[in-house]
Amino acid sequence: MKVFEYSTYAMGTRFHLVVPGWDEPMGAAVGAYVSRILREEEDRMSRYKDHSELTKINNNALKEFVEISEPMKQILDECQFYVEATKGAFEPLLHKVEKMAASAETINEISSKHQTSLWKNIKWDDHKIRFLSSGIALDLGGFGKGWAMEKIVDCLKENHVTSAFISFGESTITTIGSHPLGGPWKTQIPNLYHGKPLDIELEDASISISGLKVKKVDGKVKKMAHIYHPSEERMIEEDILMLTKSVSPLRAEILSTALMAADDSQKTAILQTFSDDGFFECKGGNWQMLKKPLKQANES
């Protein structure tokens, strides 16, 4: 069969869309829409762009009220929901963000100043936002790809795409409809340390995987900490993977990150609250289901 493929760099990683049954002339238009969504969302949420809405907020919201767009308000409301639902394991507000990504020494130095519940230090309404404490910054790193993916899925469906496979940085994977040859899409998620992979089937569903960041340094693969543990006030160094399966790519992304950072009570809260979703953990070479999802419970 014909296959349309669209690949690009976005949000600091690579994005791949595969639409079976489509060809280049048909796909070109949706490729352009997808590219526009990715650019718009990056311009809104990137911490690395001087002119993004997020950068403007981070630079000014301590001094004065900063006007926010309707989508930014929706993003903040969405964050609010997940901060509450994960009992603070999801933390889109960071203390001294720039330092946080730096060396371990720096992280230790600042962690003592870190407060567990930062989120209460921002206030917003329909039109404006204000930071109530100094040294904080919004960071939508564990949110942006999922958010953009939701917009992309809506756009593809509006444009009559009924079957598609989308990978965003390989850490967030979304499917539309079923495989063109029938039945759900089958994926095989690699294990750490060459252990047995995890088979997951996807039909109008998404998965997101969190763990240490994989970076190639001088041709060698290195794993780097990039998620902060709010309650233990440290970067997460354990080499584990957390996988969440959900109908929503945004929820999958948020919860897989939150689970990496969650303590036991937060973990329990997440598993209880999101009982429709599926959660898997890969530790020491074994994939293990944290909670059998009530729906779509067909994983091996």
Binding site: E5, S167, S171, L181
Partner: protein, 422 residues
């Protein structure tokens, strides 16, 4: 080559004004850099006429790069004593003059650098060439096209080197960028945009009111065409260089829109140059907003150069490498095979964070070409010959700048009068 010979050569061979100048010829000259330039017979002895802000800057650069250029400043000249004294501190052994004609009579001089105000370029240049000296004259060449042409004639007739201070011709990112334009990396170039924006009154402090016109010569039409001769001529030269052609005509507008302080030159200008092949070169400059700074954008169907900021953008940037799982998925689908997709990792660290940040034209962008242009001048003197096409770049850069001024002043579409084609 004498002027007559050159005209015949052009008539028989090349279309007038199309650059014979190649980045390669400049690179070759630069490659000679540092080759024993400091041995006594290899030293190039220069005088500097006009030791104001630019003149002293050039002297400083010469001193800082002695090992590359092998230039010794043996004479300085300025009609304004405070500037002459300051320059003497940079070149303590140089002989000081207040009248350039006395400087030109010095023995053992190889050449002069002229960094006087625009209206004082032509006379010292022509006098120096006629005295058998090589000349490095700051851009723009002169205040009117007749003087510009007279300077060209003096250069061709004396056979002495005349190099105009268009330093972009020696700037590695412009050299490499032009290579890209000329070898087709941008595809077909049909539009060039350039702009130079600042936000200040462009005035210099004046110690006493009777020195206003002398110090702030840039603001008065008798001495300068303002933004056009002081800034635009740099980019107008680059436009012609990129097209390897001369415009067929220019139109433009200008106004004093903001700095209504008694100045006579426009503070806001726009020009459009047209080229034979349909290319438009759109230029503008102003001094009441600096957000966009300065840039030259050369646009083809395959790519764009942003020369001042050292960036090259492909119209269709390469797609990221595909993860193995996606490659397998596509192969399976194309063969109607239902396979499982091996995919998934915690986070893939991109080699490229931005969607299309472009790529640098050159690594280590560390010079604006001025030191290299002075070294190039000294090397040309050592070789006893001009770099082919280099003078003409400067000539047409200024010529089309002044024609642009005419277009603005008259509101007409202006072409180059045939007698000014060299």
């Amino acid at each position: 080559m004498t002027y007559q010979n050159r005209r015949t050569f052009l008539k028989n061979g090349l279309v007038a004004g199309t650059a014979i100048l190649t980045p390669m010829s400049l690179m070759k000259i630069m490659a000679q850099t540092g080759q024993n330039v400091n041995s006594p017979n290899n030293k190039v002895l220069l005088g500097v006429i006009g030791t104001g802000s630019r003149g002293m800057h050039l002297m400083q650069i010469i001193n800082d790069n002695k090992n590359q250029n092998g230039i010794e400043i043996v004479a300085i000249c300025d009609v304004y004593k405070p500037h002459l004294d300051e320059a003497q501190a940079i070149a303590p052994n140089a002989k000081a003059f207040e009248d350039y004609r006395d400087l030109l009579e010095m023995k053992d001089l190889d050449g002069v650098i002229i960094a006087t105000p625009l209206h004082v370029h032509a006379a010292p240049t022509i006098d120096a060439l006629n005295s058998g000296l090589h000349v490095f004259c700051e851009k723009a060449m002169a205040r009117n096209i007749e003087d510009v042409h007279a300077m060209a004639l003096a250069h061709y007739e004396t056979g002495k080197i005349l190099q105009i201070g268009q330093q972009r011709l020696f700037d590695p990112k412009f050299l490499r960028g032009m290579d890209k334009v000329h070898n087709g990396d941008l595809g077909i170039v049909t539009q060039i945009r350039a702009f130079w924006h600042r936000n200040n009154d462009w005035r210099r402090p004046v110690p006493s009111p009777d020195l206003e016109r002398f110090i702030n010569w840039r603001l008065y039409r008798e001495y300068s065409a303002g933004l056009l001769t002081e800034l635009a001529c740099h980019h107008i030269q680059v436009g012609n260089w990129a097209k390897r052609a001369l415009p067929i005509d220019v139109r433009g507008t200008g106004s004093i829109s903001y700095w209504k302080d008694g100045r006579e030159v426009y503070d806001n200008v726009a020009l459009i140059f047209r080229y034979e092949d349909g290319t438009q070169f759109i230029y503008d400059s102003m001094i009441q907003n600096k957000k966009y700074g300065l840039e030259v954008q050369i646009m083809g169907d395959k790519g764009t150069l942003e020369m001042e900021t050292n960036r090259f953008f492909l119209e269709n940037p390469p797609a990221p490498p595909k993860p193995a799982g996606i490659v397998q998925l596509v192969q399976d689908l194309e063969r109607n095979v239902f396979g499982s997709v091996p995919i998934g990792s915690s986070s893939w660290d991109a080699e490229l964070a931005d969607t299309n940040p472009g790529e640098p034209i050159i690594q280590n962008d560390s010079t604006d070409g001025t030191p290299e242009s002075l070294t190039g001048f000294a090397n040309s003197i050592r070789e006893g010959k001009s770099i082919p096409g280099l003078f003409e770049e400067g000539y047409y850069g200024t010529m089309w700048t002044l024609l642009g001024e005419q277009a603005i002043d008259t509101g007409e579409v202006v072409k180059i009068p045939q007698q000014f084609v060299v």
